[in-house]
């Protein structure tokens, strides 16, 4: 296996781009990544496009606008892990020697659906009977509150931190700071989750360029190495499941740490899948940033703030930076690359050397989640 590095990264601010096509959003992110790397299009040997609600051949339609064609193009769907899964495929292809350079794009235009909760699988027995994504996370929250005495005010602090960080990130969708009261007084979506505890309807795109570590020196003096690229799927059961433990992330994280040769104590900064406030808390525990039942303490003590013991979601995360599903995995990587390069300005995590991205998702019955991906990067 060859070592792989990121040599270019670009993203567009996540917003509601009602007047733009998904092709325009994707093409702009690809352009930014190519320019960031200073790489010519004809050096890209393969291109990968992650998107959830895509029409056929979305990648081809986007990449042609940026002068990338006549090479293998792969269109990837894996729910909220689509972009990260596209990255995984590119990573494996380079590590195994199939290509020396590849481009990965994540893109999504959720305003195409008008707003509200995202459309789920209409054949799913739970969805048919009225389950929506906020409802699923709300049921996790309810059970966690019952078992660990978690308070609504503590949940709300996740949103407060998220907005505070997003206020420092020009790429974030919601940048006005909020208070615990603002969060709790916003409209109820699925009890106990209020509107400000749910990720917004977002359009966005992000792209990165990968090469072998050897090749990377041609493009940058500061390649960001990929220590591990982990993708797994949920375990299927129609029976009991402990909803306070996101099994897929627990297992994925353990595998990722083992393969990377680093542990949770080595992570300087992390972007995790905070689609809802409760999710961020569950993932503190699943990623081993704290023990079981200790997530509330972490947010209460500011341990995950920028400047804290292990800063989580300095970008503002899905809650405030926005969650354009297919783009999210790559967008998290752009943030970590920016942090590890020391270019994150006001939201810079000082001295960050090792960063982690985590995204998971897919609300289908019988699974904790459909897919989960964890990546660890180092400078």
């Amino acid at each position: 296996m060859r070592e792989v590095a990121v040599v270019g990264a670009g993203m567009i601010p996540h917003r509601k781009y009602r007047e733009k096509s998904v092709m325009d959003l994707g093409a702009e992110a690809v352009r930014l990544a190519l320019m960031d790397a200073g790489i010519a299009q004809n050096k890209i040997q393969a291109a990968y496009c992650g998107c959830v609600y895509a029409d056929m051949l979305l990648g081809q339609k986007i990449f042609k606008q940026t002068g990338i064609y006549g090479v293998p193009i792969f269109n990837v769907e894996n729910a909220c892990s689509s972009g990260a899964t596209a990255f995984h495929e590119a990573y494996c292809a380079i590590a195994e020697g199939r290509y020396d350079t590849a481009l990965v794009l994540g893109v999504e235009k959720l305003t195409a659906f008008g707003g509200g909760t995202i459309p789920l699988d209409r054949d799913d027995v739970e969805v048919r009977q009225g389950l929506v994504m906020p409802g699923l996370y709300a049921m996790r929250a309810r059970r966690y509150m019952e078992e660990y005495g978690l308070k609504p005010e503590t949940l709300a602090k996740v949103s407060v931190k998220s907005r505070k960080n997003a206020s420092l990130n020009p790429h974030a969708q919601y940048r006005d700071p909020v208070t615990v009261e603002d969060v709790l007084n916003s409209r109820m979506i699925a009890d106990p989750l209020t509107l400000m505890q749910c990720c917004p309807t977002s359009d966005g795109a992000a792209a990165v360029i990968l090469t072998t570590l050897e090749e990377s020196r041609k493009y940058t003096t500061e390649p960001i190495r990929v220590l591990v690229s982990e993708v797994t799927s949920g375990k299927y059961t129609n029976g009991f499941r402990d909803m306070t433990i996101p099994e897929i992330t627990v297992r994925g994280a353990a595998e990722a740490y083992k393969l990377a040769g680093v542990g949770p104590e080595d992570i300087d900064v992390a972007e995790v899948h905070d689609a809802f406030t409760i999710a961020e808390l569950l993932y503190y525990e699943a990623l081993q940033f704290c023990g079981r039942g200790e997530a509330a303490r972490m947010i209460e003590n500011g341990e995950t703030e920028i400047g804290g013991r292990i800063p989580v979601n300095p970008s503002g995360g899905l809650l405030s930076k926005g969650h354009p599903l297919g783009a999210t995995g790559v967008s998290q990587m752009v943030e970590i690359v920016t942090q590890l390069r020391g270019q994150a300005k006001e939201r810079q995590v000082e001295g960050a050397k090792v960063g982690l991205t985590h995204c998971t998702g897919g609300g289908i019955s019988g699974f904790d989640h459909g897919a989960c991906s964890i990546h660890i990067f180092a400078r």
Binding site: V125, G130, G135, M139, R187, M188, Y236, N238, G239, F240
Partner: protein, 138 residues
Amino acid sequence: MNSEHPQVLLDERCYDPATGKLFGNGCRNCNNQFFPVRDFCPDCLSAETMERFEIPAKGTLYTYTVIHAGPASFGPPYTVGYADVSPQLRLFGRVQTIGGRTPKINEQVAIKLGKIGTEDGRELWGVVFEPAEQEVGK
């Protein structure tokens, strides 16, 4: 289909329209249970070993939420939850409390087929959980 009859949002193998009973199935060799009913066992891949059984009338409410932002046909706000009927089987359903009482995690619920919504004047039916000891007005 007659529009005056309710539309049941479940596979027709999962209920008896005459009695309102709910059914799952499982593989007699692999000790698994499924709802909705499956064509074959995902473990041994056999179709012949699958046996249908009646869903127990009682379960334990594992968790719940009140959904305020859901499809209009379900008349939000509405309460949903998961109930465990055996270690191998957890069902999703509508929690019907009397007088707006808040459900309690770990309480016993009766499990039945019932109305969960209305679409174009037609009743929608699905899995319903009724807490066993309703305290009206609380």
